[in-house]
Symmetry: C2
Amino acid sequence: MAATTGKTTGAAGRGSTGRRERLRAETTAEIKSAALELMATGGPDAITLRAIAREMGMTANAIYGYFATRDELVTTLINDVYTALADAVDAAWESSAAAHPAVRISAWAHAFRAWALTNPEGFRLVYGDPVPGYRAPEGGAAPDAARRTCTGLAALAAAAWPHARQHYADSDFAWSDFDPGLLDKIRPAFPDLPPAGVALALRLWGHLHGLVSLEIYGHLRGQLAHPDKLFEEELNQLVRTLGIPRPA
Amino acid sequence: MAATTGKTTGAAGRGSTGRRERLRAETTAEIKSAALELMATGGPDAITLRAIAREMGMTANAIYGYFATRDELVTTLINDVYTALADAVDAAWESSAAAHPAVRISAWAHAFRAWALTNPEGFRLVYGDPVPGYRAPEGGAAPDAARRTCTGLAALAAAAWPHARQHYADSDFAWSDFDPGLLDKIRPAFPDLPPAGVALALRLWGHLHGLVSLEIYGHLRGQLAHPDKLFEEELNQLVRTLGIPRPA
DNA sequence: TGTCAAAACTATACGCCGTGAAGTTTAGAT
DNA sequence: ATCTAAACTTCACGGCGTATAGTTTTGACA
């Protein structure tokens, strides 16, 4: 059978057809959860079809009924995990909606790092080389989740923009410097954010990603004792360089 | 034989003993260069003992005469590659010794990014998950090269410090926040750099690493057209936030 | 209710991988 | 000339992704 088979042939009129589909969905979910469990235990490398099958009491080949290749499974996992990350930072942003911009930005960044520290293997899966020979499909593994994250960052930039704009007067970014698909999301949501503000969002992403990445991959371990403190300093300086006045 | 055998038993008095050692060194070098070639072609994943042996017209097991395990070989490669990176940024720093701090910092950062773009697989090897099941040894794979890079970053911070120090008045870092081994290198070289300056160096590392990392791993690809421009903006803003006056 | 096609799953096999054990060739040392 | 150890090969094991072919199960329809 082809793994791309999404539906049974007959239109789902009878309850029995629904049963097949339900079982199928359950098995798919079990495969994914087994894979995530393996990842949490032994890192992304531990995600192997044979190990998943072993965990499920199945043959490795049975998985091919649900995912065409291992890479397709990994891509699905990346999507799920990246979406979870996007959910986490979005939640932090939303739940601090009433707070001072400095506090909201800090909340977003802390949620980002906290998620990464809680799910280091997930972070590696999403942002690193996920798994031995994995090659991401055309357009990236999780374009939607990546877009959501970028849009979230644009929200940070937009919140800071009234204070920050003065520092970006001689930035010469144009809308054409960015991907149209990204702008489709950002421009309607933040009509006051100019191209230079989008660039700021991406730079911000780089800063946070870099610090968290160095920490997760252990490159900070031999240099300083408390990465928390460095991250805190980063956020303080971020607020300063954005020109946001400290809350009262 | 044990792979850890570094010397032949007899002290190297005779020329013939030297011959053995020379052949050994040549073979070791050939293994490493074959591995690097494979990496450049097919990414870190392509570094397999069997492929290296194939390339050399040998058996895979013969490599065990030179490296105890695949991981030991990979660790050696990481060291070599990381050292090459450290050499590249050091060279950029030294060769701009007479220039304005803003120019020197920019030169360092450009050298860092240029090296990464020229050797993307090397960047992944050093900073990512190098190879399928690889686990770095105690204390990291390339502690010396990492230290050199950190020290180089401290030089940037030290060059900026006369201008930047005013912004870090309320940073409460202490020497005890950092690894003594790192400070042994940094404090003698930059006696005027306080703890907050070291923290600045590490943050700077995070910023640059993050942007380059996002670019190398393709996360920027779907968002903007010219990563160069973003990096340039990063450097402009970096100089601004450090409070360094623009050169004349 | 019996029949049948398709879905779900297993069995076998191939070529990769790292690595251990044992055997063979080669070359420096005495 | 002989001996020893280094260098290298052969064979083997278990793990991996995955292609092919065969088997069992099950929902659909006459």
